[in-house]
Amino acid sequence: MSGFFQHFTMSLRLHRRNRMALVYGYLFPLIFLGAFWVLYRHESVPLLQHMGELLTVSVLGGACFGLPTTLVSERERGVWRRYRLLPAGTWSVVLSTVLARYVLLLTAGLLQLGVALAVGMTLPAHPLDLLVAFTFVAGAFIGLGLVIAMLADNVPAVQALGQCIFLPMLIIGGVAVPLASLPPWAQHVAAFFPGRYAVEALQACVTGPGWSGVRFDLAALAVIGVAGAIAGAKLFRWESGQRFAAVGGKPWLAAALAGWALVGAAAEWRGHVAPVAVEADRARLAAPAQQPWETVTDDDVARLDFANLPPDYGVVAPIAGPDEKPSEDMDRQLGQIESRLATWPAGRVADLRQRTLNLLCLAALPDLVQNPVERWMPGIVFDRLELSMPRRQLVQILTWIALHPEEGQVLVDLSAVGIHGVGTEAGVRERVRWYAIKFVARLTGRVEP
């Protein structure tokens, strides 16, 4: 027991001293997190809906690349040959190595979770269940990593084998691409991969009912993990001289594959192929519970002062008519602005009212500073707003803005999208209000668009 504990703590210490191991173990998961944040930062609660995928990718990388790379490189150098001379069983040395890897994966996962919380994610719904699910996921992938380590004769072979498992799992295994986005045939294939069960189990603990709702997934992970661990132990090689081709116990490889096949067959039989609908905690996702603009009624809309708006053809709050065509130069300039809007952060903020307000500023500021694009921007803004949300919701938000012109932040400088000229806040707010009412008039049929 003393040897087991010493080897466990020593493995952790040696990992800490290895710079490359730290990069792969901790920096890469953070890079994944950064990539996910860039992709999903505009969701109401950033990353919350993707923690299952994120943690699975990290565990998959650490267990399928990190663990076998360490094992195989030490075996190649003769370190394991020296361990074999100890009066310890195979299980003792392998188990302490595996346990150390679990701790490394867990700390990497906690680091990811901590950073995610720092960038705005809310706490997982069931933290303790998440720990249980994480343990099952780590166990399944560590079992897989052991099999890779025993199959690979050298470190390059680990990379090749790891990629053969890692990439398909990401793309059609339900890890990086959501199962719901995959065609039916790919969903059937994914049922045989542990990746989808890992994502479902973890996500259920973050936003769903906890582990009680994903018992099948946990059982699937357990079967795959145990089959992999047994096969890994039976195929265990202490020396690099023992090539896989010459090692006994190859039928145990079939045991590992049988685990995957068994899980896939059970999923088909029990109708578990389609993605599990993890019912999100609405209150958690839609924070706060109800937005003020959601209280806007048709009566509020009717109260808007449609009668006293500046005319569209005038110089204040103008909107180009359907027959007006921009010049070639103007058309080019508008095209440049539109291409910048595609990546304009203010146009994708999670708060729908603020996002609408930001977009209205694109019409209001050019009018205020008499930028030549002033007649054309309202049309562009209207089209973007109409595409971004349901009409009813848009009417409510625009009405709210028109009735509460003092709320929210307005943009007085839009040079980031190529609209030059700086306006006053009061001037922008006034024009935002006019355009909001004009847009409501079009959306509710009071004026022809």
């Binding site: 003393s2 040897g3 504990f5 010493q6 080897h7 020593m10 210490r13 040696l14 001293r17 290895n18 030490e74 150098r77 003769g78 370190v79 040959r81 020296r82 074999r84 001379l85 100890l86 009066p87 310890a88 069983g89 202490w238 020396e239």
Partner: protein, 315 residues
């Protein structure tokens, strides 16, 4: 003499190659025993079977009365092993390695004691990757002593070491013997075997072809002494036939080499022969056989196609 190690009819095959073909020998408690043989003779395979790194197909292996094939973990408790090269994780320090390896044994020495004994105190906290070949070798030996072993198994302990490290290691092996350890070492350095070992077994082609103390082996295998004769002019063959066995004559012309069991009589006869023929004596020396000659003679038997097996003596 109670046997500390008993190896009987050990057989091991690698695919079609028969590495061990019934090797047998015994090592007494407290002695330094050497396995001597050319490369590929089966020395390392024998040791690897003994310490449990390889599974023999047949044969008996007992260490301190324990069946090493049936109870390898029990055997590993009692033995210390230093392989040809010691591989450890790059980031581990000698102190940590000694603590880690010691933690697996019931009996263990303090790392500080071993660091001092094997001259590693100054490198106690240096990373393994930064150690020199000699320091790694000494750490390998220190690890072999971490469990206060009854038997120390050393595979080619001085291979790749510089002369001063080799001298230090020889002194250490002598100290092991003085401390009461049984030492089993494999080497292909004849001088090393002759200097260090109480007894040796010459291994060739997977078999033990001779066992005994170096002096006994020399005496038994080289019953004939070597006589070198240098004359000014060549001796006539007919004159020589009267005093020595012509079949035992080597060399030619003025330089001749004789093998004889009776050096005194042969030298007297040769001197008479040289005087009678007026060949003019330049040099006449008599030399007892060396272990190297014994070794070459025994291991060349294989090349000649003869298969010689002799336990406890020379064929």
């Amino acid at each position: 003499m109670s046997a500390s190690v008993t190896v009987k009819d050990l057989r091991k095959r690698y695919g079609r190659v028969e590495a061990l073909r019934g090797a047998s020998f015994e090592v007494a408690a407290g002695e330094v025993f050497g396995l001597l043989g050319p490369n590929g003779a089966g020395k390392t395979t024998t040791l690897e079977c003994l310490v449990g790194l390889r599974q023999p197909e047949a044969g008996e292996l007992f260490i301190g009365g324990i069946d090493a094939r049936r109870r390898p973990r029990e055997v590993r408790e009692k033995i210390g092993v230093a392989l040809q090269s010691t591989a450890l994780p790059d980031q581990i320090t000698p102190r940590e390695a000694l603590r880690l390896f010691g933690s697996y044994y019931r009996e263990r020495s303090e790392p500080a004691v071993l660091l001092e004994r094997f001259a590693l105190r100054e490198k106690a906290d240096a990373r393994f990757a930064s150690l020199s070949a000699g320091q790694r070798h000494r750490l390998g030996l220190a690890l072999a002593f971490v469990n206060r072993p009854e038997l120390v198994v050393l595979d080619e302990p001085t291979a790749g070491l510089d002369p001063s490290s080799r001298v230090e290691l020889h002194a250490e092996i002598r100290r092991m013997k003085a401390d009461g350890h049984t030492v089993l070492l494999a080497t292909h350095y004849l001088e090393e075997a002759e200097q260090l070992c109480d007894r040796i077994a010459i291994v060739d082609a997977g078999r033990v072809v001779a066992t005994g103390a170096p002096g006994e082996l020399i005496a038994a295998a080289a019953a004939r002494h070597t006589v070198n004769l240098v004359t000014r002019r060549p001796l006539p063959r007919e004159g020589l036939a009267a005093c020595v066995d012509l079949a035992a004559i080597g060399g030619e012309g003025t330089r001749l080499v004789f093998q004889t069991a009776e050096p005194t009589q042969t030298v007297a006869a040769l001197l008479a022969c040289v005087t009678d023929a007026g060949a003019g004596l330049v040099e006449l020396t008599v030399r007892q056989a060396t272990l190297e000659e014994v070794f070459l003679k025994l291991t060349r038997t294989r090349d000649a196609g003869a298969e010689t097996t002799n336990e406890g003596g020379v064929s």
